[in-house]
Symmetry: D2
Subunit: 338 residues, 4 copies
């Protein structure tokens, strides 16, 4: 941590900073510039310390971090890429893993029709929401437990792993009985009670990026899962909130290479929620694979016109089949396969 | 809802929109422009319908809402201002209610010292966090149950009402035993399981604005509380996330008059979290009162230099006393009092 | 335009809206809902009218646009893709056009070395800045006229077209003598005096997106160029400003398919300014081509360590050569070539 | 500047950083932590150096600034508040200076009526636009030179100073003949050619904040004016672009105390452009004065319903009169007057 003192600071103020550092077991080095005193605070875990500890002291102008606040998710902590394995399907390796399905589970018929279509096209994991966090209390909130049972039935029938969202810390055990991967939605990225419980469960988890959280906050949230001993963490970029209003969110394509540079965790992309419109999904899905994403999470519905939730961003089975063909070419162009 | 058809749309496509509207019990009016067909969908609750229902139909270019998606929180639903009463202290009336105290409860001594100071200066509600949602798993997470007990003890001793945060839907009953007002933090504004449980509890609640949620989403989240029959809802503006990085968040001062125009709910302001720095708190607190806020939520710590959480944004008791004097003048200037 | 009246509006207020519309030569249709009156304003150019014209009238709650405010840049105005041709190089067709070169022109040696490298790798247009708009007055501001002369000399020697930025409306004639394409930088996207002058010059122009302008504002700025009769307009996405701070800007990858849907103009991508870091440029460049961009604008410097401006985001010639190989595969995967 | 080396950096890489610093006349201090090497670069003008100079070197992970990039606008450079004097009206002192008038000059009658009204209410400077930078080429662009002449005529008749916008660098001399204060609009905050010309003219200037520029960039833009010897610089906060869409922009109220802390320049607030709606202007204007703004820039139109530009955000003379009364009370509450 770098502590910048105010111009004209006194020896007593500098001493105050030194004392505070020593009381925390940290060492201190002084940099005396022409008109600024800068104090470097050194130690192995300064990234985990709040900067306020020094910023409140008299004479301090500003405190800057050198170490990142996340630790277990960082590439410095673990140099090689992490792989997450779901029934033999490896996420984070050469294969681009496509998870597809409806936003919300509506009926067995809907699920069966969807699974047949997406398997035929090459998707290998089924997505479907049973608990739906909806902006308005007057909207359809999901089939809840009945939805989980439908997912489990289809999973058995077709031998396809299932990913579904969990929204309440106390539902983690329940949901993980029915699903192979738990999904933490964007609105829950900093629901730390939920993260801790999933961390303890040690099951595969997709951690969606909060739509106004920085990449640093996202990796620090992943630390909550990793700190409990759960290493099966997959990140999912799904768009951030910006001033642009022609799409629902703005997909942060730069986050893919940034994550690859600073973290060992696999990262997938959800082009459906980012764009909010089926006509924009293919371009963004292709961009994600070209940028180095390890997988995709795509909404597919047998009949989007009748979907209870988010029909506008769902692909039809035939649109999805066409997209998968195009994605195969892109995957090959970057040395991977689907 | 206004459905704009694509240029060159067919009679069959227009008919599809009409049929969909009728199947939902809505009426339809056609507007034929020189080169655009626009279909107006009319009914008493179109605000609660997702626009997707029409946007996915063939020939539709765009769908715009006329009605707002929130209902119970709107001034159209209830014209006169709502008042929330806590032990006889009325929020939303002529009095500016100041809630003050430390970010995190640390010890009984800390609380006692704080209460003495803030009461002397004119604050009438004590704030203090027992459950702290922290960005990093390696940070201090609050005293939890022990913190609640300290708050309750001080509440009894000094006869001052207490506000504290609840983060887990299953802790609502527990926390409401110890506190007079429950606080929903910014990161939980769209934690709908939490909102529903607090709604059912029917106790006073401060709903902080999610730091990247629009005012419309905020009022729609308030509908979750109101829909369960809890009318004691207080909104709290605490800054939104923007590109500006000289402050922790950017306080959206415009939200105060916007809320007053579109909603009947009282709204208070948290200048401490918005700015993140004690030197900026007074200016923003004064601005909030001048803009029409019904109260303030301010961090005060007897010794900010030793605070375990957010010391940099906490005022000392003497800074707070000075600010309260200034606030009294501003309150008077806008026809109110503290 | 859709004018929503306040609940409880009077016949006189509705009449006021009708009169205003008629005075502008527009027709009016009334939609009477259960508790709302909505007035549809119809006419061929309502997109170009400010909404204020109706919003200020008594009884009006809100005014929403149906027509987009841009016209000449829209696909409704011109259905087929526009092509811009520079010395036989067509932008907007099957070929992905790569423009490369240093951020700032520094010397003839630097330019010659760059051109040799980028031509060898397959780039076909040279970029280089002579006038540099710099955030600080104490930074290097470019070689100005001497820089233009260096560009022209190299252009002649190697037969490669040149793109360079113009920042002052009065320099348009000067710069267009030395360059084949004028570049309008992000900070000048709404410098309307500059746009008008370039429009009159009728020379090829790259219009960079303002870093906090919506796509709608961007296309409306393009209308300034098109309205003067200049049809050789190329759009360039270069990242928008968001809260994310691990990259200089956030590239809005969704803007590519949005532009393709709503406009006929070609669009290229600048991955160098968006990311600000050479290690992130290749992933974003590949994503852009996969998403459907018609070209790229990439910073290449023979010796980034010694660059006077933006060295951190410049590729070395060998990094650039490697990237071009990868881009060729992506281009092929989407049915195009470099 | 603080240069953080990659974990496992080599002595050669550290030496490369040292050499680069020495070649720029800077001194170097090494901080050796447990697993990080951090190099402090010291010198009197490191704030004006681009961080890229070090960031491109091998082994460098990150470079952070300690010194701010602006210099002449900083309080470190000049400790006491700057005052700008216009015909004896001092901006930056005890008096809150209110500038009011129409968005666009439309006619002599309109101006005369406006001046009478605003003078009566206590405004002391007339605002009015002759050159209007408009988003769309199809909108009214201002009366241009004829508008300037109208302003000058009214100025003479009523003895009231005039502020008006200049958009083209080559119009600076022309406009400054007719106006007492030049206004640089938000879209031109980084139009450096314009800033330089106004700097040379040494006339009073209001520098509006770019709607997506940080406070640091804003003060650095002020350095362009100051560097040419123009000390009569007034800053104007007018809202930044965020995701919130219920107002046109989000007024950054925190910027007022931030500016006061880090700069000596006076700062005023434009509540009209920030909110975009007359009903929100009073609350925001009062907040600005309470937060410490030195003045206000408010749109007033004798007949907003007939205004050619921005009628929705203009106050009527009677609304303005009422607001001025309220502002007087607020000013008094913060120890100032109007």
């Amino acid at each position: 941590m770098i502590v910048e003192m105010r111009t004209g600071t006194t020896p007593e103020e500098i001493d105050g900073v030194k004392q505070r550092a020593k009381s925390l077991g940290l060492s201190v080095q002084l940099n005396l510039g022409t008109n600024k005193v800068v104090v470097a605070i050194l130690g192995s875990n300064t990234g985990q310390l709040p900067t306020d500890i020094f910023a409140v002291l008299p004479g301090v102008e500003n405190v800057a971090r050198i170490m990142k606040p996340y630790k277990l998710a960082s590439r410095e902590f673990k140099a090689e890429n992490s792989l997450v394995s779901i029934n033999g399907i490896e996420i984070g390796g050469k294969r681009i893993v496509v998870m597809a399905g409806p936003c919300a589970v509506e009926s067995e018929e809907q699920l069966v029709e969807t699974v047949r279509a997406i398997k035929r096209s090459g998707a290998c994991i089924l997505r479907g929401g049973a608990f739906k966090p909806r902006t308005s209390p007057f909207s359809f909130q999901g089939l809840e437990k009945a939805g989980l049972e439908l997912l489990a039935r289809v999973r058995e029938q077709f031998g396809i792993p299932v990913i579904t969202e969990v929204v309440d810390p106390h539902d983690v055990s329940l949901v993980s009985k029915y699903a192979d991967i738990l999904q933490v939605g964007a609105r829950n990225m900093q629901n730390f009670a939920l993260l801790t419980n999933i961390g303890r469960k040690k099951c595969p988890v997709v951690l969606k990026r909060g739509f106004s959280c920085t990449i640093t906050e996202w990796l620090t949230a992943a630390d909550y899962l990793l700190a409990e001993g759960n290493n099966q963490v997959i990140l999912c970029e799904r768009g951030i909130r910006t001033f642009e209003n022609s799409t629902r969110f703005s997909l942060d394509i730069c986050s893919i290479p940034v994550i690859k540079r600073f973290s060992h965790l696999p990262v997938i992309v959800d082009p459906s929620h980012a764009t909010g419109h089926y006509s924009l999904v293919p371009a963004v899905a292709k961009a994600a694979v070209a940028a180095g994403a390890d997988g995709l999470l795509i909404e597919v519905h047998p009949n989007p016109k009748e979907a209870l939730v988010d029909g506008l961003q769902s692909l039809t089975p035939s649109d999805f089949a066409r997209l998968m063909e195009e994605l195969r070419s892109i995957a090959k162009a970057v040395g991977r396969y689907i």
